[in-house]
């Protein structure tokens, strides 16, 4: 059946970068507007919502980066928050008024974004190079250890990191009069929101192009059958290392942005729960599908930071009676739903893996692969090859 939408759809399929830019523009306009309508305006004013969207953008960036590692290359990275921390602390060392190492250094935000990403990439390479020669399982445990160690080191090396207090007074981004804007300041979340959407758009285009390139196909090949991929002449170690490093780079980039938005970095922002949350976002969104992962990250972030809180006040508003079952006392109104979030993520991960491993918004190839229907996969690949 042909509709009038077919031609633009066909056009956008052929021009993916344009599609990404158009979607980003729509998001940029629609989200702040939606926040002013009920029921959303009941939860907070537009300014707060937009600030929340900017933070959600950080997690979208994190999830999209982790998707390359977990979704495309099939490597389990459990220490993703470590690279986030490295990016954030790099920013703090380059642009802070209370710098414990390079006092008085104020490198512009835009340069520090790249530096933060670069430093995280170097750490990614250092960690991945020895580990990725081994079986995939070892990467999971080494990254888990790394994710655990980085906050501990930051906490203990207090001469260089100021320990628990963290480094404060981080510089704000500055446009030097471009569009009449100088320093962003803390009062204006809109600028951060626009910035993060721009960063995400660039990252999206970059990753989408990469996914469709020779490298992207190599990732999928390594994920699906490492031995076969190696026999076809793919250098599996460099392929995996590249995916791992790109994940680390994205995480570092997100860290640098997050640090400048918050104005402070401290070790407790980068615990294992961050790595776990991002993993849940990738798995629930649909491993391997950038759009699904981004949507998953956004939804989970909003549930975590607005939904659960609102659920709490909603349940309290119902004035439910306290149910007593023998010694067990059930008082829904006293439940702090935020405490349950990680329990819910855990349940969601297990349920997802058992029932719908391809995620809520899967990529077609991943879905077929996870359901192990070889004929269908072959059919799909043949179909894809025939497309012009």
């Amino acid at each position: 059946m042909t509709t009038f939408l077919d031609r633009p759809r066909e056009f956008l399929r052929g021009h993916q970068s344009l599609a990404i830019i158009i979607s980003a523009a729509i998001v940029l306009i629609v989200l702040p507007v939606v926040a002013t309508f009920p029921p959303f305006n009941g939860f907070g004013v537009q300014r707060d919502w937009v600030g929340g969207f900017a933070d959600a953008g950080v997690f979208v960036l994190l999830a999209v980066g982790l998707n390359v590692v977990v979704g495309l290359a099939g490597l389990l990275d459990l220490g993703y928050a470590a690279f986030f921390a490295i990016g954030a602390y790099t920013y703090a060392y380059g642009a802070s008024s209370s710098n414990p190492v390079f006092g008085g250094l104020h490198i512009p935000f835009w340069i520090m974004l790249v530096v933060g990403a670069g430093v995280a990439a170097i750490f990614g390479l250092l960690l991945g190079a020895p580990t990725l020669r081994l079986r995939g399982d070892y990467l999971a445990i080494v990254t888990l250890g790394f994710g655990e160690i980085v906050p501990v080191v930051i906490l203990n090396a207090d001469t260089y990191t100021k320990g628990t207090n963290g480094i404060t007074g981080l510089d704000q981004p500055n446009l030097y009069g471009l569009f009449g804007i100088n320093s962003f300041g803390f009062q204006n979340p809109y600028l951060y929101f626009v910035t993060v959407v721009v960063i995400i758009t660039i990252a999206f285009i970059f990753l989408q192009r990469l996914q469709d390139s020779r490298i992207g196909r190599a990732w999928v090949a390594v994920r699906e059958d490492e031995l076969a991929a190696a026999s076809m002449g793919i250098n599996t170690v460099t392929t995996k290392l590249l995916a791992f490093a790109i994940g680390a780079t994205t995480s570092g980039l997100a860290g640098a942005f997050y640090a400048s938005k918050l104005g402070i970095v401290s070790p407790d922002q980068f615990g294992f729960t961050v790595s776990f949350t991002v993993l849940a976002m990738v798995v629930l969104g649909g491993m391997g599908n950038v759009w699904g992962v981004a949507a998953g990250a956004f939804v989970i972030y909003e549930i975590q930071h607005t939904g659960l809180k609102q659920l709490g006040s909603f349940v309290q508003g119902l004035h439910l009676p306290v149910v007593e079952l023998g010694p067990l006392k059930i008082d829904l109104a006293s439940i702090n739903f935020i405490n349950y979030q990680y329990l819910l993520y855990g349940l969601a991960l297990v349920a997802m893996m058992l029932l719908r491993p391809e995620g809520l918004f899967p990529s077609r190839r991943r879905r077929l692969e996870l359901h192990e229907d070889t004929d269908e996969v072959a059919e799909f690949i043949a179909e894809e090859a025939l497309e012009p």
Partner: protein, 343 residues
């Protein structure tokens, strides 16, 4: 054969009978000297301390290595099973109404046996349930799926305790009197002696079970080649369930040890202990039970040595560096490869 497929094996090799005991003895003497150099007068106490902590890690590491040996899965939930075991011990001891050390030896023995048996049994069952509902269906799925499930199960257990029992540290009464025994020139606290003897006894029992019984043989053959074992009439599902039961029961025992040795527990202890014990398992050669036990003690010594030299806060970094170094230079672990080849 790579370490990954190395089955659960026994240590005793023809012709090399004395090599392992000799190596262990030399390693112990060396670590004693290193500790003595840093701790001075407290050398003996710290040495025993290292052995005790090592025994704790070894008990947990055994579960990791057994599960990895048989289904090649890093069971991230294993550390949380240890944590839950400590909460079972806490629950029992506070329910019985004990608040301090028990001086009557008979009562002490009965209570300890009861606490250990219940904790081991409960955690064993929990392990079997986890295997049955979370891992079994994914046995032939792509590798990523069971790993993600395992990390999910770990979060479920941790947060069930967090929201259901306690969100902070709980103090557990230490049942064993805090007195020291003198054995010749050696002075050792009863609790340390108890932990070390218990751990060694459990390890020997496990070793005998694996090498001398039909079920143990079934476990080893399943680890070696699941399909071939099945063709030989081994009930794969039952064997894997038993492996989970034993591994989890050992972690349950380690949980009780945690409460009795340190006197407290919290919902987060499983994470770090799990990480360290997994390092121990890799250090010893994953899939190899003897290696896991030795690896546990190595980690215990590493931790005590780093704290003796004033780097206690860095013990995790030391252990993690050890893990990365082992993976770079000897990914099959201390014992891994040699034993696997001759299994």
């Amino acid at each position: 054969m790579t370490a990954a497929t190395s089955p659960i094996t026994k240590l005793r090799l023809p012709g090399t009978r004395w090599r392992a005991p000799l190596g262990i003895f030399i390693a112990l003497v060396l670590s004693y000297l290193v500790i003595a150099n840093g701790a001075g007068a407290q050398a003996q106490e710290q040495f025993i301390n290292a052995l005790t902590i090592g025994a704790l890690y070894a008990l947990i590491a055994l579960g990791y290595t057994m599960v990895y040996g048989i289904i090649e899965l890093i069971n991230f939930a294993h550390g949380e099973i240890f944590m839950c075991g400590s909460f079972v011990a806490w629950g029992m001891i506070t329910t019985f109404g004990f608040t301090g050390a028990i001086t009557d030896l008979g009562v002490l023995a009965v209570v300890l046996v009861a606490v250990f048996l219940v904790s081991m049994f409960v955690m064993g069952i929990v392990g079997v349930i986890i295997e049955r509902f979370a891992y079994r269906r994914l046995r032939n799925a792509p590798r990523l799926a069971p790993l993600i499930t395992a990390i999910g199960v770990s979060f479920i257990l941790q947060n069930l305790v967090f929201v259901g029992i306690s969100n902070s540290i709980v103090t557990v009464p230490k049942l064993i009197p805090f007195t020291a025994l003198s054995i010749g020139p050696v002075e050792i606290r009863e609790i340390n002696l108890f932990v070390i003897v218990l751990a060694v006894a459990l390890m020997i029992a496990l070793q005998l079970f694996i090498t001398r019984t039909r079920l143990g043989t079934a476990m080893r053959s399943t680890a070696m080649d699941r399909e071939a074992a099945q063709l030989m009439g081994v009930d794969i599902n039952r064997t894997i369930a038993i492996t989970f039961f034993i591994g989890s029961a050992l972690a349950g025992a380690a949980g009780v040890v945690q409460t009795q040795y340190l006197g407290n527990t919290n919902f987060q202890v499983g994470f770090q202990a799990g990480l360290k014990s997994f390092t121990a398992a890799v250090l010893g050669g994953i899939g190899n039970t003897t290696g896991a036990a030795i690896g546990g003690f190595v980690i215990g010594f590493l931790e005590v040595i780093s704290s003796v030299y004033g780097y206690g806060r860095w013990s995790e970094a030391v252990v993690f560096s050890a893990l990365v170094l082992v993976l770079i230079f000897r990914p099959t672990g201390i014992l891994g490869q040699q034993l696997a080849d001759r299994a």
